[in-house]
Symmetry: C2
Subunit: 208 residues, 2 copies
DNA sequence: CGGACAATAGACCGCTTGGTTCAGTTCCGG
DNA sequence: CCGGAACTGAACCAAGCGGTCTATTGTCCG
């Protein structure tokens, strides 16, 4: 049971955080009023302010939490023994999925909007999103090179390129509401294009 | 004393727009107060409101103007007869420059932040930025294919891929303040990587 | 030179915001 | 079932907001 430090101080702590999450991701920092948040959380203002000294800190807490959630959805590389085409296809799908999801879009939007005012949010976002993906891709690519499956000189660049290719169009068009959804099919086409391009540049042997 | 005998109506119109531009790009829509803008513009509130009925409309005007400015800086393709490597290298440099410039970053940030509240701003941004680049790239690629310089099946995808490759890392790292500047050298490296990748996928003949 | 009139500065208004306070209510372990 | 901590709801505050209004300035033309 979570009886240890749980019940100590704050029965409604999670409610507050959850409400803040909803409202901040929907309306941004300025767009969200504290009253909105309390209403959404089903909690009184005094309760909210008993947990968080001010709106700023509450926002930072939420933002960091969302970045952590984002990190959890990031790519992982398990079956590193398969052909790079397969591994990259699966990884690319994850990247494209996040880029086109409502969650990914909201977090991105809010972090971009507030990165000037809250630089730490910007860093956290990068570290838990694009940065983490990049890092894991690099690790995989190094392995694949060692295994003789790929030939890459500038590994960090290659990692960035692949990730960027998987987000091509998807990200931007979702951000600016040019497409409200991306079908798995359409996403797959883009990811396949990314893999083909990547392999034709860095693959050690041609395949038809 | 003003030696200028100008059109009476609108002496300070440009001042207002310029001040609004500065403040909106720096602080966003909510972050910018009308008083900030008048102060920056060196103009009174009544003057501002004699030109624009409200803050919303002023913002829209500024946003559209910035998108237009952005469009002016977009790639153009003149010397379409050179080798694709050269043409793409030059185009890619332009893309990477805009992505890493303060101007490009500010406009992007503000448009992302407000695309929810002002959908037209989002559309305008896409149309005058990534969309325009994409469109011109497509036109160029079609020509290059006709000339037998390239072999591409999905042209729009290829265009998106190239643009995205040129922005790899640059854009994201600037957005979230991981790098305050990108040297021309570093940018060139990324663009060169983009061109190499693009050519190894879509070039009709291999070159070493 | 002077009267008409548009452009201006900035005081002003109503309203919302973030944040505080407090008298009372609910919850829960002992 | 008691006592104290957690929670509530509403009232309240100062500050700042977008937007308006008026008194004043500057300019043009007869």
């Amino acid at each position: 049971m979570t009886t240890v430090s749980r019940v100590k101080r704050g029965r409604k702590f999670d409610q507050v955080l959850e409400g803040a999450r909803t409202v901040f991701l929907r309306d941004g920092f300025d767009g969200a009023s504290v009253d909105d948040i309390t209403r959404e959380a089903g909690v009184s203002k005094a309760t909210l302010y008993s947990y968080f000294p001010d709106k700023r800190l509450l926002f930072l807490e939420v933002a960091k939490g969302e970045c952590r959630r984002q990190a959890e959805t990031a790519v992982e590389f398990d079956d590193t023994d398969s052909a790079p085409e397969m591994v990259l296809m699966i990884a690319g799908r994850r990247i494209a999925e996040l880029a086109s999801s409502d969650f990914g879009r909201s977090v991105f939007r809010v972090c971009v909007a507030e990165a000037e005012r809250f630089p730490e949010v910007g860093h956290e976002f990068y570290k838990s999103g694009p940065g983490l993906v990049r890092q894991r891709l690099i690790a995989y690519l190094e392995g694949a090179i060692a295994r003789g499956q790929l030939a890459i000189d500038d590994i960090p660049l290659a990692a960035a390129q692949f990730a960027e290719l998987c987000r091509a169009e998807v990200h931007v068009r979702r951000l600016f509401h040019l497409d409200e959804t991306f079908s798995a099919k359409r996403r797959d086409g883009i990811v396949r294009g990314a893999v083909e391009m990547f392999m034709s540049r860095y693959g050690v042997q041609r395949r038809d």
